[in-house]
């Protein structure tokens, strides 16, 4: 039981690192970036290439995945995304789905369609046995890294000058502009950082779940759920939503009701239903603040 909670926590933490960039950019620029998962996939493949082809350790791959995907994110933001901000949500959706398709086919071309998986570093193999609970070392690592990142993010947002500007811009970008805050630059930086985090998460996750060209589509739905439930006005919301989703997903698979003589896994069903209900009754998210008008 505790092991399940622990697994769910690790899964949820990872989901948060993967999704937080999307949540912030959505809140900041009201921009729907369905290609966010492609950045996560890119990070995953960076890890795969570095570890499988060049034999480097995961510890090197993680920062590399962050830097590379952040760079790609910055480049795309400046060249392509910037033209999309004044377009409708529909156009943004189509554009980013288009980008996702391109990314998937490109990865397929260079890396092949089969799922890739990387080895956990030797130091992190195996489990800690704590009485009845056995905790996987790599998952502990994942939780620790993600927790550190979350704390760093939270501090960065609340304590730094950039953070306060970012918060102001998320609250009301028009007013922020009026106050002389360079929202465009803040957005570019945030976008790059968010993409980098997704890449980092992808690399971190590549040792738990496999990475394949279908990854962006598979995870897009999870990202959207995180945002739907967590809202976009804070990072605490998506954080709690990710943990909730991680635990619910894992628990939903562990506790399977028996329907018609078969154990039937209804985790997905429950999660999607919760998402729809939250969206209907609390469109700003379960943990989001109600934004006046």
């Amino acid at each position: 039981m505790l092991t399940i909670l622990f697994d769910g926590l690790a899964y949820g933490m990872l989901l948060f690192v993967l999704a937080v960039g999307l949540s912030v950019t959505l809140g900041l620029m009201n921009f729907i970036n369905l290609a966010h998962g492609a950045f996560a996939m890119a990070g995953g493949y960076v890890a795969v290439v570095m570890m499988q082809r060049y034999g480097l350790s995961l510890f090197w791959s993680l920062p590399a995945a962050f830097v590379l995907t952040a760079a790609v994110g910055a480049l795309l933001e400046r060249t392509l995304y910037v033209r999309l901000y004044d377009k409708t949500h529909l156009e943004q959706v189509l554009f980013t789905i288009g980008l996702t398709f391109m990314a998937m086919a490109t990865v397929d071309y260079f890396m092949g369609a089969s799922p890739q998986i990387v080895d956990v570093p030797k130091a992190l193999e195996g489990n800690f046995e704590l009485g009845i609970v056995s905790l996987n070392k790599y998952r502990i690592f994942v939780i620790a890294v993600c927790a550190l990142l979350t704390i760093a993010l939270q501090l960065g947002l609340s304590k730094t000058r950039f953070g306060s500007r970012l918060r102001a811009a998320v609250d009301d970008s028009r007013v922020a502009r009026g106050l002389g805050i360079d929202v465009t630059a803040i957005f570019a930086l945030t976008f790059a950082f968010g993409s980098g985090l997704a890449g980092f998460g992808g690399a971190l996750g590549s040792a738990i779940f496999s990475i394949d060209p279908q990854f962006p589509l598979k995870f897009m739905i999870y990202f959207l759920i995180v945002i739907a439930v967590g809202g976009t006005s804070t990072i605490t919301g998506p954080f709690l939503a990710s943990i909730l989703l991680g635990v619910a997903d894992v628990a939903g698979k562990y506790y399977t009701p028996e329907i018609g003589g078969h154990r039937i896994e209804i985790g997905g069903f429950v999660i999607y239903t919760i998402m729809v209900l939250v969206l209907i009754f609390r469109p700003q998210g379960l943990f989001g603040r109600a934004v006046g008008k």
Binding site: F95, G98, F101, Y109, Y272, P283
Partner: protein, 344 residues
């Protein structure tokens, strides 16, 4: 009021009457398009199966255009109704075991339309409020739930293995679904045309105009007495029924239903088609579906493994450079032709 203004007003009314009639008039290219579509069955009999898919896709896209292009509801889960319609028609045909009355294709269409309309009506309440993003996720969520249900109800739907034994009877009791697919195409095309004409009638009706008004400005629409929610309920229900018929056509003409009918890619593809063709134009759905399938056919033949890349590129370029999709381009071209023609 003086007599003079009364006379003016009358001539103004005449002008206005002509104006309204002109807006809804059938134009030459439209008629040509439909005649051409039927002629295709005889000109290229070897491609009838592909044409059949185009016709079904066009109807599916048409259903989304009603929801997205007219009522302004952004849906990333419209495939839910397509799939529901496919299963409804498929199960009915299966129950009839290939014999009328239950396996009658027309009855199957009606049944699928009714089921989808009912479910569409109920779910329409979920998309009344909220931003584009909320609607997008709600529709996506509903579609995912549908897929989960179909997957879990394997005893009814066949689960991941697909629904076996779908055996529609002959069309109108006369025409068999032949191996060449020509009857299937003519059947699907006829259904598409009938429903298209009906949709065209609707968009030029007070109801249709009020939908566009809601899409344009729902605040003002409410202020002039348009019951916004009820109209959206209606439009979504109608779109659901149309999508259901499209799904039913697929189930009947392929005699098979797989879980794939509920897959996310159906919803994404159809949205892409509508935007590619031109939102809120009706014909955009037809043109978009044809262009999409043609593109797929050419690209998949050239680079079977990586055609997705080119599809993505087309999407990206479309959003960046083309407003209003293919119909927008055609409209601009047509307008230029007229200007050039009218200049001397």
């Amino acid at each position: 009021m003086t007599d003079a203004t009364a006379t003016d007003s009358r001539s103004g009314t005449d002008r206005a009457m002509i104006y309204f009639a002109e807006r809804a008039r059938w134009r030459g290219p439209e008629v040509a398009l439909w005649i051409g579509a039927f002629a295709l069955a005889f000109l290229f009999p070897s491609r009838a199966l592909l044409f059949n898919e185009v016709a079904i896709l066009a109807l599916f896209a048409l259903s989304l255009d009603l929801v997205l292009g007219y009522a302004g509801i952004v849906s990333l889960g419209h495939g839910a109704f397509f799939g529901l319609g496919a299963y409804a028609a498929g199960l009915l045909a299966k129950a009839g075991a290939g014999a009328a009355p239950l396996s009658d294709p027309t009855l199957g269409l009606l049944f699928a339309a009714l089921v989808c309309a009912a479910v569409g009506y109920v779910t329409s309440f979920l998309v009344l409020r909220g931003s584009d993003l909320t609607r997008l996720m709600v529709t996506l969520g509903v579609a995912l739930i549908f897929q989960e249900i179909a997957n879990r109800m394997a005893w009814l739907t066949g689960g991941a293995d697909g629904l076996q034994g779908v055996a529609p009877a002959n069309i109108l009791g006369m025409f068999e679904f032949d191996l060449y697919g020509r009857n299937a195409y003519l059947y699907s095309l006829t259904v598409l045309m009938v429903l298209f004409v009906f949709a065209r009638k609707i968009v030029h009706s007070p109801f249709g105009i009020s939908l566009r008004a809601i899409k344009g400005n729902s605040l003002r629409a409410g202020a002039i007495g348009i019951p916004v929610n009820r109209r959206l309920n209606g439009a979504y229900t109608l779109g659901a029924a149309y999508a259901g018929v499209a799904g039913a056509l697929l189930a009947q003409t392929t005699a098979f239903v797989s879980l794939d009918v509920l897959d996310f890619h159906r919803s994404a593809d159809v949205m892409l088609i509508v935007v590619f063709g031109g939102v809120g134009t009706l014909y955009g759905a037809v043109v978009g579906a044809a262009a999409f399938k043609a593109m797929y056919d050419v690209l998949a033949a050239a680079t079977p493994q990586y055609w997705e890349f080119w599809l993505g590129l087309v999407l990206v370029l479309l959003v960046l450079f083309v407003r209003g999709g293919v119909m927008g381009l055609l409209g601009a071209f047509y307008a230029r032709l007229q200007r050039v023609g009218g200049r001397p």
